[in-house]
Amino acid sequence: MENIIEIKNVNKSYGDKPVVKNLSLNIKKGEFVTLLGPSGCGKTTTLRMIAGFEQPTSGHIYFNGKDITELPPHKRNLNTVFQKYALFPHLTVFGNIAFGLKLKLIPDGEPKPNKKGELVQKMRKYTKAEITDKVNSALKMVDLEDYGHRQVSSLSGGQQQRVAIARALVNEPEVLLLDEPLGALDLKMRKDMQIELMQMHKKLGITFVYVTHDQEEALTMSDKIVVMKDGVIQQIGTAQKIYDEPANAFVADFIGESNILSGTMVADCCVNISGHKYECVDKGFKRNEPVDVIIRPEDIKIVDVDDKNCLTEAEVLTCVFKGDHYQVTALTFGDERNEIIIHDNVEVKVGDKIGLYIKPFDFHIMHKARLINKVEGEMYDKGIVEFCNGRFECVSDLDEGTPVTVSIDFDDVELTDDEEDGVIGATIISAIYKGSYWQYIVRTEDYYDFFVDNDYEWSIGDRVGIKIAPDKLILEVRNESQE
């Protein structure tokens, strides 16, 4: 299949704030592609750049091989279903759907040669009867046959949604863009619309590009899912691939529930988690490389402690009935006690000792995104280093103005509740529970992201202060000529 949309190295920033970073993506003809990610990940901006409402700061977008980066939206053969529908309140349902048709020019007859002998295609507008026909069949497609005369404000949310879809599809676009179209609907309605949208996609055979933050919606509907975070694509793949083989800890955490633990690769196919060695199927890691280990809750089986399959033991903390399974949280034994979530069909009692069994290929081993925080700074004075617009005390007698690289371990970065208590302020942009501690990503004012391991709980968006003990700052003189 050929690509209908190609996005090549697109960057977008508002002021000095990057929203989409070097994004490249191909969308095939007829595909149902979902851009998935938490709010602020750049998915909507990407969609708006495809639609033409935003211009990329750099990079190009191709449509059927033609560069459309600079093309205004009204000249693009695609239509959008807006988040809040954006139905025109001054027009009826009929008027809304007919809006695009009334503006469209279509070829009139065969191209004829003009005086100079060039072939000229005469264009005409749709006739009234043609428009009525098309609008009526569009209304029929969304099951609103008798609603043409109604005011849009008299319709329910679900009906307005259908009108918005009909208004876009009646123009027969090659690509339909949908910007969180089901966000405003209640759960039941959302489920119904998901199925209807899938059916429409199958029937029409056109390309759908869908934006959502709802991972379940994405998994249900898409041929291809593009997981985004912070303006960067994390993984592209089918629903199954993304669920079964998440590319990194973020994807695993965002898609479905997972246990994310820290471990080290002892050898090929052998991972050490908190002093226990487990068999896995991953190879090619460096010896003793620290890794993230991801295990889906439903991949962990509860067995007897003395069962021969038992890999490790754990103590039950909670056991909750969830309809089709029990959700068990348990604390493992070992150097570090990890809290893990298990979905299984057996009921266990709080305080029980249980055995756990995990198949080797259900351990998903991933390189850690970063092993140490490295940031460039400069000596402000003897014993004071400046980086990220903050002055930190350090143990060093380097001269003022010396450029340095500062390395700080994840667990050496201290976070303070009160921004004022830290040397610099920062915002928590990611929080992932790793069994026995939280791993945060905190962003400073100048967009440096610190990775922080911490026992306390903050939520995403919280403002915190950053403090680092002087002896935990590892300074290295940076040779500027190398850069």
């Binding site: 639609a51 033409g52 409402f53 205004p72 939206p73 009204h74 239509n79 959008t80 807006f82 988040q83 809040k84 954006a86 139905l87 025109f88 309140p89 001054h90 027009l91 009826t92 008027g95 809006f99 695009g100 503006l103 469209k104 005369h149 109604r150 005011q151 208004r167 876009a168 123009n171």
Partner: protein, 266 residues
């Protein structure tokens, strides 16, 4: 606890002072005007006041015609200038609230002062006072009343409507004619009402800016109530005519805005 008095302080009670004010300063004067219209100078019943006004001996109808014409022209010019200004202000609203202030600022100065200074400027520039200067003064005075409601409506138009319009194939001009103008219709209607009604009843502007050459309906009413002429009866009739005109204007505005609803509902 038993309620000793029947009066209970409800939310309604908060409106009583203003209702009293309305009664004394609006309803009562209107009744007096109505009575006056049927009285001769020596307080006996007559219909002569109406005859005098409508028979056109005193040129009452001509003055009324002039006023309406100037009102219409003023409103049209205000709309023509005001819409682009309001659109521009709304478009750059977020970055430039000072600009809006800049256009409202003339309203802070008393209108008589404004008009007198305008006259002084015209005289200094040797411009002959007449129809042109009166229209200038009217537009200058009533433009903010056109811009404000337009600006309010235009600012409140959700940007996604404009994007939806572009998405469906509308170029910049079509977005303007098919989406922005229809969506700002309520603002246009209230802008017209807020300009036209005071414009037809204005008096001092025409007097000052034409050196009393142009005589409008407001001036006529003013004259009839002044001590020298002392023809309260005809003045009252004219006031009633004015009142009817204002009511008619409001009814028409309401009907057209309702009509819009009906039209698009059909």
């Amino acid at each position: 606890m038993k309620a000793k008095s029947k009066f209970r302080f409800t939310r309604k009670a908060l409106a009583y002072p203003y209702m009293l004010f309305l009664l004394i300063f609006v309803v009562v004067p209107l009744v007096i005007i109505l009575i006056n219209a049927f009285l001769t100078d020596d307080n006996s019943f007559t219909l002569n006041n109406f005859v005098e006004f409508f028979s056109d001996n005193g040129g009452g109808l001509t003055v009324l015609g002039n006023s309406l014409l100037i009102g219409v022209v003023t409103t049209v010019i205000c709309l023509a200038i005001g819409y682009p200004v309001a659109y521009f202000l709304a478009k750059y609203h977020a970055s430039n609230k000072v600009l809006v202030l800049f256009f409202i600022m003339p309203m802070w100065v008393n209108f008589l002062m404004r008009t007198l200074s305008t006259k002084a400027i015209f005289l200094a520039l040797d411009v002959e006072l007449g129809m042109g200067t009166v229209l200038f003064g009217m537009v200058y005075n009533y433009l903010p009343y056109m811009i404000l409601p337009l600006h309010t409506t235009l600012v409140s138009i959700d940007h996604s409507f404009i994007e939806a319009s572009e998405d469906l194939g509308a170029d910049k001009f079509t977005v303007m004619t098919k989406t922005i103008i229809p969506l700002s219709l309520p603002g246009i209607m209230s802008g017209i009402t807020m300009t036209f009604i005071p414009a037809i009843s204005t008096f001092a502007i025409s007097e000052v800016l034409s050196s009393s050459k142009i005589f409008l309906f407001g001036d006529a009413i003013n004259m009839h109530f002044s001590k020298t002429t002392n023809s309260f009866g005809v003045g009252s009739v004219m006031s009633l005519v004015m009142l009817v005109l204002v009511i008619v204007c409001n009814v028409i505005t309401n009907m057209t805005s309702k009509d819009e609803g009906v039209k698009s509902a059909l």
